[in-house]
């Protein structure tokens, strides 16, 4: 384009400018192609999930418990099992995560070696492969007792949830202005009152966001449950026994050679994904409002 009709106007071709323009065109094309590929691939995943998941989704799938291939079975016990275990996990992780986050933001000054150590460890925990957490809990809560249990599964999920809650709690509490703490102290409030009733209350939305994100993270986790709550074909509400969960059931069913099990696996996958996405969207919407 640049080097053709030039002599009449007196404009001289500039090879460097031409090269830069070419590089720009190339890079633009590269960016568009990459974005196009990524969007297409991700759309294909969602499409596969929707089309195959909706085909498998039915009243039976949600209402009936798991069963042998060929019978009209469903995922009800796995759904309930997942709900119980994630709920238990949050029940354990929330106080611990809040406590640790409060400690780091309120007592963990720059010079506090212990606090910076905990902060680092929490970061490490956030990136530990989840299957290793499963192995750890197996050694602590499964091997000594000689049987798999829903409690062990919940603890494994809790360990994965804690660092997320710690991180958001600390970040959100740090956003609370010091003047608010000073005002509280000036009114004669003790330190724990200031922390809980002033700081934590004003950071409520952010902290809640952290807990919800932790919930979204752990509700799709499979690997840590494989050796802890194991899975169960039947209804079980006892924390002391193996319990079914949606992700583990998906894992077992997807690799099976029975058509109806594979269909149920897709239905389960759709349910899990929709749940996780719903939580994330809720967080986003509330963040935009707040």
């Amino acid at each position: 384009m640049s080097g053709t009709v030039v002599s009449t106007t007196g404009w001289k071709p500039n090879p460097r400018a031409a090269r830069r323009r070419r590089a720009d065109h190339l890079a633009t094309a590269f960016g568009m192609v990459m974005a196009g590929i990524l969007v297409l691939v991700l759309a294909s995943i969602l499409w596969t999930l929707l089309s195959r998941g909706l085909a498998g989704l039915s009243a039976t799938a949600i209402m009936k418990p798991m069963g042998p291939p060929g019978s009209s079975s469903g995922l009800a016990n796995a759904i309930v099992g997942s709900l119980i275990q994630t709920f238990m996990a949050l029940l354990m992780a929330t106080p611990l995560g809040l406590g640790c986050g409060i400690y780091l933001s309120e007592y963990g000054t720059e010079t506090n070696k212990f606090a910076s150590c905990v902060r680092f460890v929490s970061d490490v925990l956030m990136s530990v492969p989840s299957i290793l957490v499963g192995l750890f809990v197996y050694q602590v809560l499964v091997a000594p007792f000689g049987h798999f249990s829903a409690l062990a599964g919940s603890v494994a999920l809790a360990i994965l949830a804690v660092p997320i809650i710690v991180r958001t709690t600390e970040d959100m509490l740090r956003l609370v202005p010091t003047s608010m703490r000073e005002a509280g102290a000036a009114l004669g409030a003790t330190r724990w009152r200031v922390t809980l009733s002033l700081c934590l209350r004003s950071a409520k939305t952010g902290v809640l966001t952290g807990i919800l994100l932790a919930l979204a993270r752990v509700s799709g986790e499979t690997a840590p449950l494989l050796f802890t709550s194991l899975g169960n074909q039947n209804w079980s509400f006892s924390l002391n026994r193996p319990m079914a969960s949606l992700p583990v059931t998906i894992y077992q069913y997807a690799g099976a050679s029975y058509e109806d099990w594979v269909q149920l696996a897709w239905a389960g996958a759709l349910l899990v994904t929709m749940g996780v996405l719903a939580i994330n969207i809720a967080v986003r919407v509330s963040a935009r409002r707040g």
Partner: protein, 326 residues
Amino acid sequence: MTLATATQPEEARDKAGVSHSGSRRSGPDTVFHLLVAASALLVLVVLGGLVVLMGLGGSQAFRTFGLGFAFHDVWNPVADVYGAWAPLFGTIVSTLIGVAIALPLAFGTAFWLTAMAPPRVAAIVGTAVQLLAAVPSIIFGMWGFFTIVPFMARTVQPFLTHHFRHVPGIRFIIHGAPFGTGLMTAGLVLAVMIAPFMTAVMRDVFAAMPNMLRESAYGLGATRWDVMWKVVVPWSRSGMIGAIVLGMGRALGETMAVTFVIGNVTAVGWSLFAPRSTVASLIALQFPESPAGSLRLSALLALGFILMLLSFASLALARMLRGDTK
């Protein structure tokens, strides 16, 4: 958990130090301080326990096979001989393939989102990518198992075998029966899994650059790519490295997405299209069949220990690189 909180506070206070030793302490305040310090300590104890137990559990394997355990390439449960090289090799190569594919995808998409896309479209696509970064990994595994594996087995592998069978160099890489599983498939699925995450982080990093810099560069006559390559990338280098290493960390320890598509054969070889295994997939598959106290269980825990070291190393690398550039 309550046990730990009840027994640790003394120690915690000693370590937690001195934040308000000068001020008047009321009873509830001390209790509150101890409580939160104890929960901080518990977090420390959990990770400590994780490392120690993994090391202890694997000690039998390390004793039996020595440090050569990590580089011995036989994993034979029948003969009770174990070496970590096959799964380690699988983990490292599949992670490298995954990052190598995800990096241009993420960088290009982030470039497009921050510099080219109309704001409306960018907002929608950006949010979609962020949401997809939260999709559980087992979904990617299923998608790979039902979509990528048949595609590899029926299209890619026959094509490659037909055309490159006799080309030296490439021959070894594509060697293998067309099962569709293997390091390449695992790398592809990992790439698709970590690309949204890396894109989301890179987009945030690029968008965080002050607009003034961008406008000045455009004002000097820079093209879009000049601005990207000579202004945005240098400015956000540490953030980009963070995104890459974090994506790498995810790929290293990924279990579910890989187990579906790797083929699960403990062999070592250069072929990217033959069934292999990774550390995480081997643990997931063989752990349930390993009786307590057996050498095999110990070998799996030792594998877990090595995986944890790899994960630490990648995190440390991210911190180091970030620290250097700031």
